[in-house]
Amino acid sequence: MANETRTVGKTELRKDAWDKVTGAAQYVADIPQERMCYGAIVRSPHHFARINQINTKAAEDARGVLRVIIADDIPGRKIHGPLVQDQPSLAIDVVRHMGEPVALVIAETRQAARDAVTLVEVDYEPFVPIFDPITALQPDAKKLHTNGNLVAEFDVRDGDIENGFADADVILEETFNVPRISPAYMEPENSVARWNDDGSVTVWVSSQHPFTDQADVAEALNLPVEKVQVKSAVIGGAFGGKEDSTLAILAGLGAWAVKRTVQIVNTRQESFLAHPKRHPAQIQLKVGAKKDGTLLALKATAHMDTGAYASLGPAVGIILTETLAGSYRVPNVELKTLVAYTNSPLSGAMRGFGSPQSHFAVESMMDMLASALNMEPITLRRKNILRPGDQMFTKVVVNQTALSLPICLDNAEEIIKRYQKIEPAPGKKAGVGMALAAQSMGLGAKVPDDSTHRLEWLRDGSVLLHLGSPDMGQGLAMTAEQITAEALGLPYEMVKSVELDTLKSPNGNVTCASRMTYLTGNAVINASRQLIEQLLTEASKMLNVPREKLAYKDGLVITPDGEKVVAAEFISRVADDGRQFISEATFSFPYPEETTPQHLPIGMPHVMFCFGAQIARVEVDPELGTVDVTHMVAIHDVGKVISRSGVEGQIEGGIASGIGYALYESMVLKDQGQWIDSFTEYLIPTSKDMPEHYENIILEIPEASGPYGAKGIGEIPLVPTAPAIANAVYDAIGVRVNSLPITPEKLIKDMI
């Protein structure tokens, strides 16, 4: 792709930025509504309990209260869930986690609704809760659900594990623990629903998949889908946590019950307790290698705590399993992953989707193995990385984009040498560490994995882009606008996307899985080609020139004698006839049957991967045990940069999130039985926690099937961050911490 591009690869200005810097951007809770009333949720104070009785009378009699709704009042389906229908919209007989919705109060004011929440009397009979997936899977453990506590189990093998370990010169075995992580998007979950006079309902959401919300609301209210309109407002971050239905079902129920407009906004505490987290997990890992460092065998058992309801736990289990060998070629593997129900708040999709967990284990282990073999960690990695043509343990053959791995290592080697020369501040100990990362793209084989988007060519020659999947803040709209502009040869300014509305937009499926640039980009390129074809067909008729003699370039129709006519002229004439140039295209993630292994469970394997590396320099205070990340370089292969500042922004944000994972964040149960549920105790990185010296190295090894060669970038930047920091901490003070986050308490304990 040596050709000069018009907009692809450049930094363009996001079109939503103006409204966002002036405060004009409207998130769900900002949209003015008439005669709005407010919902507040009665939530379980218990981790696990039977509900003997709910008495709503006192709350219903309170001033300003319009209605109190419990599960019995729901006219349609009472249970939902993205993969397994196991989650009651309002509790039915049992609560399985603290914060579970039990009743919904609707009142004239927010305060009246909140006050009335305390007046709903619920008679609970508590059970002994289970918080640990290993305990939950014991045969005598109390079952959370009638099917038992095992939600999903994956067992993936390749080669001969016994022979692999028998041939190994060195065998290491370690147990790693990773914590429960809140997505901590700045905008807590919310929804507004308006009951319309014609018996339909309009719902505003902050969601990664408004079409699922539409279906869920319709099912709950027993309405045909056509009677439910879902509109995407500006989204204040999602990171996977807004893939599950957020509050749309409850807002819809409220609106139906009082025939008005109902707003529900979660507090931060409710967000912590009731919405999906990144899975905590325990990963036991055993590796065997030859003296020269060649990896021979890898055996792992992972226990994942998906909490009270499955959410996307089974799918996360798939990617955790598939990435357990990281970016390495291992001939003999035996991997077992168990996803269990517990009485913890639910875990589901979150940036990385299993890969941050597996990489902390495998990338820590690589450094431990290097140490045991007395090798440089980078030499060990170089010996074992996947090369184009290699087979992963899923039998997927790695394509040419794996060429980025040796380039990552070459860069890393030079950076590590440079960092090692920097003297620590007085009293501090410095260390340098690195990690590689592999992040799957797409939803996996045998799962519907496509995305549909529509283009509309307007009279003035500009293009409206109807995205079928929402921009959750990461910049999908800008990326799609740039690719559309490039494909049509138009200035970026002439393509504008509109907010998603299920009445008008195509269903583009869920925004997730590092798949949007790839799928959306390919779809809008195809849709652009259709527009050009429509234009040339019309131009042929109007100019009376055979279609094949006409050409299109940069918004112009070019006739055989070189005359150039602006496209807008044809568009206008067609519009005068009441017609339009409109195109819609679906792009599906390619899982060709002949090259996609078929022996694995649904959702496995993934066939396309992002690769990257990060190098961290830390300074540790040996007395306090504090870790300061002073330097960081992020090397990522994006195939092709579409939006320069967009790619950088994804990497920088991912690193911040990865630093939180490494050093600060963990949503744990406190001594008195309450969860950490506020930013007072759950610390996410601030501007002061970012490395003082920071650099991006962006590689562009084109993915042949990608739009202009592009791959994804949304998830991978946080994946290598935590293990790179853990390896740097070990390099600094010789203490290996196998459980995140690496807190001063853990370091001091091991240093003494």
């Binding site: 930094t11 200005l13 996001r14 939503d16 930025a17 103006w18 409204d19 966002k20 810097v21 002036t22 405060g23 004009a24 951007a25 409207q26 998130y27 809770a29 900002d30 003015p32 997505p183 901590a184 998007y185 700045m186 905008e187 807590p188 500006v234 989204i235 204040g236 971050g237 990171f239 906004v265 507090t267 931060r268 505490q269 959750m472 803040g473 990461q474 910049g475 500042s645 967009g646 950088e648 922004g649 990497i651 920088e652 944000g653 991912g654 690193i655 911040a656 999130s657 506020s678 930013f679 007072t680 996410i684 990185p685 601030t686 501007s687 002061k688 970012m690 003082e692 920071y694």
Partner: protein
């Protein structure tokens, strides 16, 4: 609590409102005055900075200020920062360097940056990081936000 009359300067105009004095400034801005630029993120605990406004030139969390305390003071919100459609150099810089992703933290971040540049027109990198450390952002890693503040500082000192 009974409503009282409260007079204060909001975005350059003297206004008088009627409110119970124990409501927060954030609630009054958002619910009564339709100024929804200031956001609630942490649940009114003063932990996130998304509701930052200027009170007599100082950055404050509007969720931590009772409306009764605002009597006779001067409040500037994000809506009051641009001048007749002309973006403030900070707003311009945030757009230009790509410091905006989901945008939920942006108004509060810009108001904190404004307070910083008003008291220190030429901050060092460390002072910028310090000045923004009360405002949480989950999207950007703060890198481009700090770039934007630096760019605006240059623009303001040359302008």
């Amino acid at each position: 609590m009974k409503a009282i009359q409260i007079a204060f300067n909001l975005n350059g105009k003297l206004i008088t409102i009627s409110s119970a004095p124990n409501r927060t400034l954030l609630d009054v801005l958002r619910d009564d005055l339709g100024l929804t630029g200031a956001k609630d993120s942490c649940g009114g605990e003063g932990e996130c900075g998304a509701c930052t406004v200027l009170m007599d030139g100082q950055a404050v969390n509007s969720c931590m200020v009772f409306i009764g305390q605002v009597q006779s003071h001067t409040i500037v919100t994000i809506e009051g920062l641009s001048d007749e459609g002309q973006l403030h150099p900070l707003q311009k810089a945030f757009v230009e360097v790509g410091a905006v992703q989901c945008g939920y933290c942006t108004p509060g971040m810009i108001m904190s940056a404004k307070a910083l540049l008003d008291r220190n027109p030429n901050p060092s990198d460390l002072e910028i990081r310090e000045g923004l450390s009360g405002n949480l952002c989950r999207c950007t890693g703060y890198v481009k936000i700090a770039d934007a503040v630096r760019l605006a500082a240059e623009e303001l000192s040359h302008g």
